[in-house]
């Protein structure tokens, strides 16, 4: 994550509940790789072996105990599962300010496993909750800041999020481009790309032809890939950043308030574009009729460089309003 962020920047939404409004004092998520002690006779050092499983945990602490609608007690007290077959919750959280293009974390399969209320002499009553994640925890980007929309339809395409300029995007230094067709680009550190991704090359000098710009990649090793360019004079330096991605991803929406005003529902959509000119539907969520509510929608295949969100009220009515957050996490 680029930069440092303080507590005013944090936000946390679970199943359409906005937990920032509950004045929570802290929140965290933790990912750990599970391991097993494998120390035996003859070993002089404690030994651990990874089991191949990861575990994620989310915790919100110190929120004020509040039984008013859509506050922490509402969000957590009834969410501790009473049966083994209950569906997991959907959460979105961020440590950077919630603005379009800033990082967020999306979670599906979150189970509230403990909820405690702490009364104290001379102090306000507080409530804590801990959730375990069985499912998906993904890093992504905010597309629609949590806020109200009152039109019949609208979108963020005019302020689309360019993956190459996202706050959390990594610029990977280039060592060289080879004299070859297709040219082989070598990076100084593992590039983390997948064949079918595209990259934006910038600042690369000396090559003929100039290969700066967006190029589709074919991965040949962890630090090399080819792009479809016949390079006759090799170049050096510059950086690459990921542009489009080939492995799908998941869209998230959190609807914290909804006034249909006669409309039957509101449909939220995440859209993508390769050129920031024409946008196509990428994830269409099930039409929403109630709040608080949340949805996650997964897609496979290519996710283009530019992302935007859209809302549309269905039917007819007046005085409509939907308050929501939308984000997308690339796989």
């Amino acid at each position: 994550m680029a930069g440092k962020y303080g507590s005013p920047d944090g936000w946390f939404l679970v199943d359409g509940y906005n937990l920032v409004s509950t004045k929570m004092q802290s929140f965290r998520f933790k990912i750990e790789a599970l391991s097993e002690a494998t120390t035996g006779v003859g070993d002089t050092w404690d030994e651990h072996t990874l089991t191949g499983l990861r575990r994620a945990e989310i915790e919100q602490g110190g929120a004020f105990f509040d039984t008013s609608a859509n506050n922490s007690h509402d969000a957590f007290s009834a969410a501790v599962p009473a049966t083994a077959t209950v569906a997991g919750r959907i959460a979105c959280l961020g440590f950077a300010a919630m603005t379009s293009g800033r990082p967020m974390t999306g979670v599906q399969g979150e189970f509230t496993t403990s909820y405690e209320v702490l009364g104290q002499q001379g102090g306000l009553t507080r409530a804590n909750a801990t959730d375990l994640v069985t499912g998906i925890l993904q890093d992504g980007v905010v597309l629609h800041t949590h806020g109200a929309e009152t039109g019949t339809t609208g979108n963020t395409e005019a302020t689309s999020v360019d993956h190459t300029t996202e706050d959390a995007i990594r610029a990977i230094p280039i060592t060289s481009s080879s004299v070859a067709n297709p040219t082989v680009i070598t990076t100084t550190v593992p590039h983390g790309l997948t064949t079918g991704d595209s990259v934006l090359i910038a600042g690369h000098s000396g090559s003929t032809p100039d290969i700066n710009g967006e190029e589709d990649v074919t991965v040949t090793s962890t630090t090399t890939f080819t792009v479809v360019q016949n390079v006759t004079v090799g170049g050096t330096g510059g950086t690459i950043v990921e542009a489009k991605t080939a492995s799908g991803g998941s869209g998230y929406v959190q609807v914290t308030a909804l006034a249909l005003g006669g409309y039957t529902s509101v449909t939220l959509v995440i859209r993508d574009s390769a050129d920031d000119i024409t946008f196509g539907d990428l994830v269409t969520f099930t039409a929403t009729t109630t709040a608080p509510s949340a949805q996650r929608g997964a897609v496979a295949g290519t996710v283009e460089r530019y992302l935007a969100s859209e809302y549309t009220f269905n039917g007819a009515g007046s005085s409509q309003s939907v308050t929501f957050l939308a984000g997308f996490c690339r796989d």
Binding site: G154, D276, I277
Partner: protein
């Protein structure tokens, strides 16, 4: 490459939010610069031969008469002639 040659498989819009094509529509309003990546992604597909613009509404008489009655009764099934000899078939009848 022309948008007429393609059919949208998803809803496509311009940056101002205006709808360029709905699923099944021709992509004539889609900027040519976007057709390549939309086809590569599978958001549009090449139209088959003879799949020109669809005409809406009922057919009317070629000679300016009253509109033709819409065809609601299915045609009778074709009679199969195993011999392939039309002459023999008419003789049997």
């Amino acid at each position: 490459m022309s948008g007429h040659d393609f059919e949208a498989l998803v809803r496509l819009t311009a940056k101002d939010g205006s709808v360029l094509a709905l699923p099944g529509d021709s992509c004539e309003k889609v900027p040519e610069v976007s057709l390549g990546w939309l086809a590569a992604k599978g958001s549009i597909k090449k139209r088959g031969p003879g799949s020109g613009p669809k005409k809406k509404g009922r057919l009317t008489s070629m000679f300016g008469g009253a509109p033709d009655t819409p065809l609601t009764t299915p045609l009778p099934p074709a009679v199969r002639d195993d011999t392939g000899d039309p002459k023999r078939r008419s003789e049997e009848e």
